[in-house]
């Protein structure tokens, strides 16, 4: 059973990675990152059940919290950038290309 959970988790994680790499919209990129984190959460909970320990559950909670904090920050930054540029395509952020 655990293999299935872990496989799903890894699959979701890979999807997230793919999203981060291939998508150009900042929001979609952040959503992909959230997907990666949630994939990890799934893994934590599954493994916690496997090992009958609470660590995994706790870590999942922590990951959620951190994801929220990161999302909060990301939201602020994205709003800021949208104000400046009026667009959310990662390609247009080119002031710092070097």
């Amino acid at each position: 059973m655990i293999e299935h959970y872990l496989s799903l988790s890894v699959l979701l994680f890979c999807l997230g990675v793919l999203g981060v790499i291939s998508r150009r919209n900042v929001f979609v990129v952040f959503m992909s990152i959230e997907l990666m984190l949630n994939a990890a959460n799934l893994g934590f909970v599954a493994v916690a059940r496997l090992h009958q320990s609470m660590d995994g559950h706790v870590l999942a909670l922590m990951v959620m919290a951190v994801a929220a904090a990161e999302a909060a920050l990301a939201l602020a930054v994205v709003i800021l950038l949208h104000k400046h540029k009026g667009n959310l395509d990662t390609n247009i952020f080119s002031l710092l290309k070097g």
Binding site: F30, I33, V47, V66, A69, L73, L81, L96
Partner: protein, 470 residues
């Protein structure tokens, strides 16, 4: 209450951050006052940390924290470095914001929060706490990079940093899942016990997980395949923040990386080959990038990559009997002093709105401001590793470590890279000393940075003969 002492610097930093947050909200102080307060808090935490006597591994409040934290000499010194970096970054900020826009009272609060995360990071002995500490640090640093709402450059830098940082964070979490799946525990001690019991390479989940964790750390430390962001982000961040990122973040990441690698010799063994090539690539990639830069901030960022490469050499050599942690910390201290010195000097030399940051802008500095130029030259020489500066001793320890671990090639390549790096370090010295001045390099009144620069320049020599502690 020995445990209290161990945890006190951490608590002082965190409480200080909250204090400044409230002070900022109630607007009790203006900029000057809050700068002094921030610096004072850093100094306070530093002195507490200095007085802590922790030899051997202490698990403070094992009952409350479940052994999730560990304190020893290594963490103590790493903490000292971080707090010193914080202090001097705060000092640089004090000066920087007399000439630059975009100050908010919360600046020092975020600085302290970041330092709090870093201190925690050096002390962690468990994957969950590690993640929390990592993110406390990262979030605070993101904020520091991008708090100036009116600057597009800052916003772009922070977005880049945030996107990639969150990406790396996700990698870390996935790595933690796999390690947890492979060992059934998140505590370093327990993982080490499992490895000792059943081997490292025979545990695929553990191997995969630890590699994902490694990726995350390498990203945060700006090692080779993950180094691209660092230049833009350092460039886009305000100078004091860049100083803080370049020094303190690196210190904490390497401290925790060393801790993680030492879970069990087998883990380290499993990584050595990988780190070996990575360190070479990091050094040379960094050098190639640095040589092409016209902007000092970008050059320093790139040279930071090179120094990451040296530190990776130290990691490769980790575990050989003598130089283990000491060399890393010594190098970090040496690098930190020099980098901070440069940034502190830049914080008052760069003028309004950071208008002087390219090599050419510093033409003839030595004629106009000889002491600043001399200090900058000292910092650059330290980074290049010229004796009797601290940078030299740092490299000495690292190369000695590499030799001792049997990686002569790495040592030689480290030296070759250090020769390459002369190119851009000397360039600034030449520009400062051998060209005619065009600018006046005026400095705002009542600033502390020049003093700080001199103190750091003295430190460059002072550290050099400070013996390796571990």
């Amino acid at each position: 209450m020995f445990d209290v002492m161990v945890i006190l610097p951490l608590a002082a930093t965190g409480a200080g951050a909250i204090l400044i947050m409230l002070v900022a909200a109630f607007e009790t102080f203006r900029r000057e006052g809050i700068s002094i307060l921030g610096m004072g808090l850093f100094a306070f935490a530093f002195f507490i940390q200095l007085t802590v006597d922790n030899s051997g591994d202490i698990y403070p409040f094992a009952e409350v924290f479940n052994g999730m934290l560990v304190a020893n000499t290594f963490t103590k010194v790493a903490g000292l470095i971080i707090l010193a970096c914080g202090f001097f970054s705060a000092l640089a900020a004090q000066t920087y914001f007399t000439q630059n826009k975009g100050f908010v009272l919360e600046f020092y609060c975020m600085l302290l929060f970041a330092a709090f995360g870093m201190l925690l990071l050096t002390m962690v002995a468990e994957l969950i706490t590690l993640f929390i500490a990592l993110e406390i640090m990262s979030l605070a640093v993101y904020t520091l990079v991008g708090y100036d709402r009116h600057s597009v450059v800052r916003a772009e830098a922070v977005l880049k940093y945030l996107m990639l940082g969150a990406f790396a964070g996700a990698f870390y979490v996935m790595g933690a899942v796999l390690v947890y799946a492979g060992t059934g525990s998140t505590s370093f001690a327990a993982i080490g016990a499992v490895v000792a019991d059943s081997g490292y390479l025979s545990n695929p989940a553990l191997v995969g997980g630890s590699f994902l964790i490694l990726f995350a750390f390498l990203f945060k430390a700006a090692a080779f395949p993950f180094h691209a962001w660092v230049i833009d982000v350092y460039d886009g961040a305000p100078l004091p923040v860049t100083a803080f990122m370049a020094t303190a973040v690196k210190t904490s990441i390497f401290a925790v990386l060393a801790n993680f690698l030492l879970i069990n010799p087998e883990v380290h063994q499993g990584w050595v080959t990988f780190l070996f090539y990575l360190s070479i690539l990091t050094m040379f990639a960094g050098n190639l990038i640095a040589i092409g830069q016209q902007n000092l901030k970008r050059m320093l960022a790139a040279s930071g990559i090179v120094h990451t490469g040296y530190l990776l050499i130290a990691l490769v050599a980790l575990g050989s009997e003598r130089f283990s942690g000491g060399a890393i910390l010594f190098y970090l201290a040496a690098y930190g002093v020099a980098t901070l010195g440069l940034f502190v000097a830049l914080s008052y030399l760069s003028g309004q709105d950071e208008r002087r940051v390219s090599f050419d802008d510093f033409r003839g500095l030595a004629k106009v401001r000889p002491y600043s130029a001399a200090c900058i030259a000292i910092f650059l020489l330290s980074m290049a590793g010229i004796p009797p500066t601290a940078g030299f001793m740092g490299k000495f320890y690292i190369i000695a470590g590499a030799f001792q671990a049997g990686h002569a090639v790495l040592a030689v390549l480290g030296i070759v890279s250090s020769i390459l790096s002369l190119w851009y370090y000397l360039r600034l010295i030449i520009v400062m000393y051998f060209r005619e001045p065009e600018q006046r390099f005026e400095v705002a009144e009542l600033t502390l940075a020049p003093l700080g620069t001199i103190v750091l320049a003295v430190c460059v020599f002072a550290i050099s003969f400070y013996p390796v502690v571990l």
